[in-house]
Amino acid sequence: MFIIFLLIGISVTVAAAFLGAFLWAVRSGQYDDDYTPAVRMLFENEVPDNKKPAAKAD
């Protein structure tokens, strides 16, 4: 039955990892806007024509 200690330890660790991920997500601003990303993902990718869009900075 001592396996329970191990299992509980693992489950809490996994849960804590998810909590960490959640906190990181809030911190990085993902919860600041809950509308625009939902619309943005529906835009079609365009066929790249004459030139490539400017490269991303930083």
Binding site: V12, D33, R40, A54
Partner: protein, 800 residues
């Protein structure tokens, strides 16, 4: 998409407006103006026509495009510095507020800006806040070019003096989300650990692992106690310090009792404790708080005059026009003010015919005539030709600024103590202490152990968490219902204030009346069509606002006018087909008008060939729905405060009834004092206003509603913003907020039932962790459900 809009009524392919007279046809599409066509061509050239596929006619009309020279001030390094958030050797980042943003096409186009200007590296839209974050390479493009591009495609960012103030907008507090996340995590895990206790078969398990589970639960509960629940404790403490009891006091007592008893039980091996209930309660109550905190991000309720002023102004230096940041204006600078521009600083008029519209500042409905040499105060808007002025006071020293900074305008934010939940909280703590003492008194002589158990259980069960959930949920839903109907509240507590209102004070100009419209009546011999045409032709040459209004009412094509002359402040003269037309004031035409009558009403006389035909009189047009609102407010005291003179008194009396108090020629400070007087008589005052002249009164009243034609425009600081199109529903809104208070009372009753059941178990010493684990979440959830459903049903019944 090519076949779009092939209907008989031509609507603009770009903005969707109906095309008047002659639509511009180009590329098989119709456009209402050159501005729209230009934007379409720009987008088409850059393969950005997906814009039109996402939504039908998504554009913003390009009719009112002013010169791009006005952006010259953006080249000023100081201004740039104040606007941008981040800068390094290659890139700049900044955020613009774009009020015109309204659909998914807007998001798409704004996020594809880099295709229009290669110097822009990235744009990200936050639709709810109507903001766009732009990153650009400052070697390839400039701030001015970016703003010009945005303005050219119809998304001119709103930049006001407040943006350059350097006070960065504080980002929305994420603390509540952190707290909620941590409470949720701990609640879930503690629940998991507590679960075996609820099953009788696991007694063996409990003996082996009980203390391990217990201590683990304690560890998991500590962050909830110290971080997530901190808000309740601090609020309760603040209440005690002010010798007031608020709802958070019984909540804190309950939480504290739960936490301490649980730790005591676990450490002394008496039982598993109530930590699952503790974490669960905090979690549910934080949901309530989160709900309460959600507000309208795009609306600003606390604006001051700086949000009203433009960022730049045209300054004349040695005869050359130059755009200069308003902040850098110095005494002695010569400035140029064009039609519809705002005067940012007190200045002396040097040249031009000034017609200053002070309606927003003072509430006077008609523009004021000023002649060269007179001082014009900041805040006025020029109507008509462009002016030249010399600044006599810096922006920060101006009349308007001084007025705004006057201490009487600032209201101290007293803590709202008499809310339903705080009153209920007070009774709760009294009853709880009595019941707990009673349980103690009964059990002590019989069973000491039982006595402690009963005492602590009473404290735990009496925690009015369901009660504290009722208010935020009912108010939160009410706020959403109002928001759907274009009535935006600053926060949820405004609902309760609205419900208690017994006096409604209206501003006249711009609130009861439609600012853009005026009713015109002609007194005298009726004009025939030819005469109307003649008069109209003469009026067409004048930019005077009164001329413009009459011009719009008359019919017929304009004819050629000879010898036209305008005498500022007096009237016009012109010759049409040999007839000499004179239009203007009584004194200009030599009419011996009744002097007293003349000063109140604005009359415009018309004479042709020296024969007086009659005069035009201007009346205010009352908003649609005024009658409806007033009918709905019959149980309340009604008053009107107007900055205008009393020529409308008779009409207002007819409209409002004899009991209404009418006050004219009110200065902003008088308005404020009037509200103060009403409050001293223990009235609950609602002020409805629209301009800066009402700002003090709006702040001073219990609830201040700013009425605005466009919610993204400037409105004075207030508790709620009402879109003018919903003005007719004002009384419905007030009645509905009253109804929601009954819903709160009903919700209190529901949660009280749980408390009675719980308390009766507690005094008998039957309250156990399992009872707690069932009762607490059920009571919280049912209260949330009850509150949500009742508001929805009530809203449907009220037709909102």
């Amino acid at each position: 998409m090519e076949a779009a809009l092939q209907t008989d009524v031509h609507t603009c392919y770009h903005c969707g407006d109906t095309c008047n007279e002659a639509p511009i046809v180009a590329h098989d599409k119709t456009f209402c103006c050159d501005g729209c066509k230009a934007v379409y061509e720009l987008l088409e050239e850059n393969n950005l026509c997906t814009y039109y596929n996402l939504e039908q006619s998504p554009g913003i009309t390009g009719k009112s495009t002013a010169g791009e020279a006005r952006f010259a001030y953006l080249d000023d390094a100081g201004v740039e510095q104040q606007l941008i958030n981040f800068r390094n050797e290659s890139i700049c980042k900044l955020t613009f507020y774009i009020p015109q943003m309204h659909c998914s096409s807007c998001i798409w186009l704004l996020e594809n800006l880099f295709k229009l200007n290669p110097g822009i590296s990235e744009t990200t839209v936050n639709f709810l806040r109507k903001e766009v974050a732009i990153t650009y390479f400052h070697q390839k493009t400039t701030l001015r070019e970016v703003v010009q591009l945005l303005s050219r495609i119809g998304y001119e960012p709103s930049m006001t003096l407040a943006d350059t103030d350097g006070k960065k907008k504080c980002t929305q507090s994420r603390a509540i989300i952190y707290k909620l996340g941590i409470a949720g995590f701990c609640f879930g895990n503690v629940m998991l650990l507590a679960f075996p206790d609820y099953l009788a078969v696991t007694e063996g398990l409990q003996r082996t692992f009980g203390s391990f589970f217990g201590y683990l639960s304690i560890i998991l509960s500590i962050p909830v106690f110290l971080y997530s629940a901190r808000g309740f404790f601090t609020s309760a403490l603040e209440g005690i310090q002010q010798r007031m009891v608020n709802i958070d006091l019984p909540i804190s007592t309950g939480l504290l009792a739960l936490f301490i008893v649980s730790i005591f039980d676990i450490v002394t091996h008496r039982g598993p404790g109530y930590l699952d209930s503790f974490t669960g309660l905090v979690f549910f109550m934080l949901i309530g708080k989160y709900f309460q905190q959600r507000t309208y991000d795009t609306l600003s309720f606390d604006r001051d005059y700086t949000a009203y002023f433009p960022v730049s102004i045209t300054v004349l230096k040695d005869g050359v026009e130059e755009a200069v940041p308003v902040r850098n204006l110095k005494v002695g600078d010569r400035i140029r003010i064009r039609n519809q521009e705002l005067i940012p600083a007190d200045a002396i008029l040097l040249r031009g015919h000034a017609m200053i519209d002070y309606s927003f500042v003072s509430g006077e409905s008609d523009p004021v005539q000023k002649v060269a040499g007179e001082v014009i105060y900041a805040g006025g808007r020029q109507v008509g030709e462009s002016l030249e002025l010399e600044v006599v006071k810096e922006v920060s020293q101006g009349y308007l600024t001084q007025l705004w900074n006057d201490h009487v305008f600032s209201r101290k934010e007293e803590q709202k103590l008499h809310t339903y939940s705080n009153v209920a909280g007070k009774w709760f703590i009294i009853v709880t202490l009595f019941v707990a003492a009673g349980a103690l008194w009964y059990w002590v002589p019989r069973d000491m152990d039982m006595a402690m158990k009963a005492f602590t259980s009473v404290l735990i069960i009496a925690c009015p968490c369901a009660l504290s959930l009722a208010t935020p949920f009912v108010h939160g839903h009410t706020m959403r219902v109002f928001g759907r109907n274009k009535f935006y509240l600053k926060n949820t507590s405004v609902v309760e204030t609205l419900a208690k209102i017994d006096t409604v004070v209206f501003d006249k100009t711009g609130t009861l009346t439609e600012p853009s419209a005026a009713e015109i009546t002609f007194t005298g011999k009726a004009l025939n069509a030819a005469t109307e045409q003649t008069v109209r032709s003469v009026l067409s040459h004048s930019t005077h606002p009164l001329s413009q209004r009459i011009y719009e009412v008359l019919k017929g094509d304009t004819l050629e006018v000879r010898h036209f002359n305008e005498v500022p402040g007096k009237g016009l003269v012109g010759e049409v087909n040999g007839h000499l037309v004179r239009i203007g004031s009584a004194s200009y035409l030599g009419v011996p008008g009744d002097a007293s009558k003349d000063t109140l009403k604005t009359n415009v006389y018309v004479a042709i060939n020296g024969v007086l035909l009659g005069f035009y009189t201007f009346y205010n047009v009352y908003r649609e729905g005024v009658q409806q609102v007033l009918n709905g407010l019959q149980d309340k005291k009604i008053a009107v405060l107007s900055g205008d003179n009393n020529h409308e008194e008779a009409r207002l009396k007819e409209l409002l009834g004899d009991e209404a108090e009418l006050n004219f020629n009110q200065s902003p400070v008088q308005k404020l004092e009037y509200i103060q007087k009403l409050k001293e008589q223990h009235h609950q005052v609602l002020m409805v206003g629209d301009g800066l002249n009402d700002a003090g009164a709006l702040k001073q009243s219990d609830a201040g509603i700013a009425l605005t034609n466009s919610i993204t425009n400037f409105s004075p600081s207030c508790d709620a913003i009402l879109d003018a199109s919903s003005f007719g529903r004002l009384s419905t809104f007030l009645a509905f907020s009253k109804k929601t208070m009954n819903i709160i009372l009903a919700t209190f009753a529901v949660s009280l039932i749980y408390n009675v059941v719980g308390l009766s178990l507690a005094v008998q010493g039957l309250f156990s962790p399992i009872v707690s684990a069932i009762l607490m979440p059920i009571s919280s959830l049912s209260v949330i459900l009850f509150a949500t459903l009742s508001v929805k049903i009530a809203a449907k019944r009220a037709g909102l």
